[in-house]
């Protein structure tokens, strides 16, 4: 328990450092960015007034203090330039939901497809299924995703008569984006589970299991698959959480109002509050994901102890 407490405190500290650094970096940007195309049209007084209004003329430590104080009250502030005067939580809330929905759908799809594909490949190692699967893995990784995203959008929509763009109410329009999002991650899951299973299959304890009279099928299910899944378990929580950060390509291609690329846009338009909020969320996700992954792995693998019990031997 003490271990988790220390670990949690350390995570919070990391989070504070990341957010503070990003906060300060944003303050070092030239002020022109806050005005966009209006910069030339405004006179010096108007500019000063606007900056004053945004609180940007205060010394940096005052700004930082204000930021943390309002954060403690659960207030992420208002957008400056992206959608002026709209609460950040309103902007990102709905976007996160959309990305999360797509992300979870594609994650489940690629887990189901990828794991079954990898297991099939491991079981028929060196045979035709393995070779086909390897071909897919290499293809998915070697060809830039944009290329087959486009091909899918252009051709598959025609063949299967599916909508070209995302519509909120039309479930059919969800199919292609989810497939696009799953293509690469399916290949990854297949590759890793195959690799871990082949590793396990070559271990001595499999030989012993066979010698004691277990059937191959039983060995696969009871010994190999479970053991091969452990190293994958570590990354699973992070993958789930990261789905809310969306995908720039797929979301812009199908015009999905998700979070993909939002951070880039926010930085370009110098929307300090939005950047801070996004960094805060993404960093927390990363840190929580790692922590959950470690916990998950420790529950699967008795050899891994996250905390010191002492005298276990």
């Amino acid at each position: 328990m003490k271990y988790y407490l220390i670990r949690l405190l350390r995570s919070v500290l990391t989070l504070l450092i990341v957010v503070t650094v990003v906060f300060l970096l944003m303050r070092m940007m030239p002020v022109e960015g806050y005005f966009g195309t209006n910069y030339d049209k405004l006179d010096e007084l108007q500019k000063q007034a606007k900056l004053e209004n945004l609180g940007l003329l205060d010394p940096w430590y005052i700004q930082l203090k204000d930021f943390y104080v309002s954060l403690l009250h659960g207030d992420l502030g208002q957008s400056i330039t992206y959608r002026p005067k709209v609460a950040i939580s309103t902007i990102i809330g709905s976007k996160f939901l959309v990305s999360l929905r797509f992300g979870l759908a594609s994650l489940s799809l690629s887990l189901v497809l990828g794991l079954s594909m990898g297991i099939l490949m491991a079981r028929s190692k060196g045979k035709i299924w393995d070779k086909l699967g390897t071909g897919y893995v290499v293809g998915a990784n070697a060809v830039p995703a944009v290329i087959y995203y486009l091909l899918i959008q252009v051709f598959v929509t025609k063949w299967l008569d599916l909508p070209l763009l995302y519509e909120k109410v039309n479930m059919l329009s969800w199919i292609l984006p989810v497939i696009c999002l799953s293509l690469v991650s399916t290949a990854y899951y297949a590759m890793w589970i195959r690799r871990y299973m082949v590793d396990e299959l070559n271990k001595d304890y499999i030989r012993l299991a066979r010698a004691k009279g277990l059937r191959n099928k039983t060995i696969m299910i009871k010994h190999v698959m479970r053991n091969a899944f452990v190293p994958m378990a570590q990354y699973l929580p992070a993958s789930i959480l990261y789905t809310i950060s969306g995908s720039i390509y797929v979301e812009s291609l199908f015009s999905i109002p998700g979070t993909g690329g939002l951070l880039v846009t926010a930085i370009q338009r110098q929307d300090n509050t939005l950047v801070q909020a996004l960094v805060l969320v993404y960093s927390s996700i990363g840190i929580i994901g790692l922590l959950l992954g470690d916990i998950l792995m420790a529950t699967f693998d008795p050899r891994i102890k996250l905390h010191n019990e002492g005298g276990s031997r």
Binding site: D204, Y205, L208, A209, A211, G213, R215, N216, N227, D301
Partner: protein, 359 residues
């Protein structure tokens, strides 16, 4: 005499009979003959040791009894008769399931890696029991705990719930043995059971195997290149070289009256027999290339005193006693008298003087 009497072994029923078995492997497009017509009868209740250097085919030979050859290996010809079935003809998993564990079980060399790291040792023993002894759940668990105590794991009820990484090497080997015994087999094959263990533990494990042999009425095959182990446990010894059994006899016969030049060489290289101040004997050269066909006696090229015929014709088995036979032309009445090396004679002397064989 700690070994069983010769007659008792020979009169015992034959449990496994291997005849002229040939095993080949396909390796990088070439064909390798790993076992070249080896034959062996295994008698009920005996301890047979198969000795030979690395690559002589000891492991492959015994793996073929359980269908555990690697996928590029196959039995080319010959028979392995067990309870009226010819195991050499077995192909499918369904065939082998009837043999593996249930009839023949195996203990492997490296206990550190032979157990599934993510399952408790109790579950792994219980798995054997549920497979082969028609017990389920609590009953199987109870028996598993009993067997764990049998193999010398104290506090076995508590240890049942522990994982392999909580055990030392020697303890893990006990668990591996427990798994094999829990299958309730007829024959137990121990593939270098003590090689990975330190010397003090080795003796304990061998003693354990001897005790279990009595308790569970096992026939044990030891595969080893450690002649110390052999002297300790074996009733009979089969010496393998280049995929063939070149000499077979009771432990006393092979240790004190060896006939094959390879057995002589093997025994002469025992450090215990070395003479102070003189370099330790070692066998010159390397074993033959099994990718090529071997003509004559496989050991002839490494044997400084080889006869001409050794390079031409493969020797048949010559019987020395009803329990002792060797594949060497030296036993042919027409061959010249060649005395075994001094060290072998010294061994005999040592035996007569101090009764080494009686310990």
């Amino acid at each position: 005499m700690k070994h069983k009497a010769t007659e008792e072994i020979l009169n015992g029923e034959i449990v496994l009979s291997v005849d002229e078995i040939v095993i080949k492997f396909n390796l990088r497009g070439k064909e390798l003959t790993a076992i070249r017509g080896a034959s062996l009868d295994l008698h009920k209740g005996e301890s047979l040791a198969i000795v030979g250097e690395s690559g002589s085919g000891k492991s492959v030979f015994t793996k073929s009894f359980m269908g555990l050859l690697d996928s590029n290996g196959r039995i080319e010809s010959g028979t392995i008769m067990y309870k009226g079935d010819n195991l050499a003809k077995f192909k499918t998993e369904d065939d082998w399931i009837k043999i593996r564990g249930k009839e023949i079980a195996m203990v492997f060399q490296d206990p550190m890696t032979s157990l599934n790291p993510l399952k408790t040792i109790g579950k792994q023993v219980q798995e054997s029991i549920e497979l082969h002894q028609n017990l389920k759940g609590e009953e199987a668990k109870k028996l598993a705990i009993d067997i764990l105590s049998d193999v010398g794991i104290s506090d076995s009820e508590k240890r049942f719930k522990q994982y392999p990484h909580e055990f030392s090497g020697g303890m893990r080997q006990r668990v591996v043995i427990a798994i094999a015994v829990a299958c309730n087999p007829n024959i137990l094959i121990c593939d270098e059971p003590t090689t990975a263990l330190d010397v003090t533990i080795q003796a304990q494990i061998l003693q354990l195997l001897k005790n279990l042999q009595k308790k569970y009425d096992l026939t044990i095959i030891y595969i080893t290149h450690d002649l110390g182990v052999v002297a300790n446990v074996a009733d009979r010894i089969a010496v393998m070289y280049a995929g063939d059994i070149i000499e077979l006899g009771t432990a006393d016969e092979v240790f004190f009256d060896p006939k094959h030049p390879y057995t002589w060489a093997l025994l002469s290289s025992l450090p215990q027999l070395g003479i102070k101040g003189e370099p330790l004997y070692s066998i010159k050269g390397t074993p033959p290339n099994l990718f090529k066909e071997i003509v004559g006696d496989a050991f002839a090229p490494r044997n400084p005193k080889a006869l001409k015929i050794d390079f031409v014709k493969r020797p048949p088995y010559f019987e020395v006693t009803p329990t002792h036979k060797a594949r060497t032309w030296l036993l042919d009445p027409r061959s010249p008298k060649i005395e075994p090396p001094a060290m072998i004679l010294k061994m005999r002397e040592m035996d007569e003087k101090w009764g080494v064989s009686n310990e």
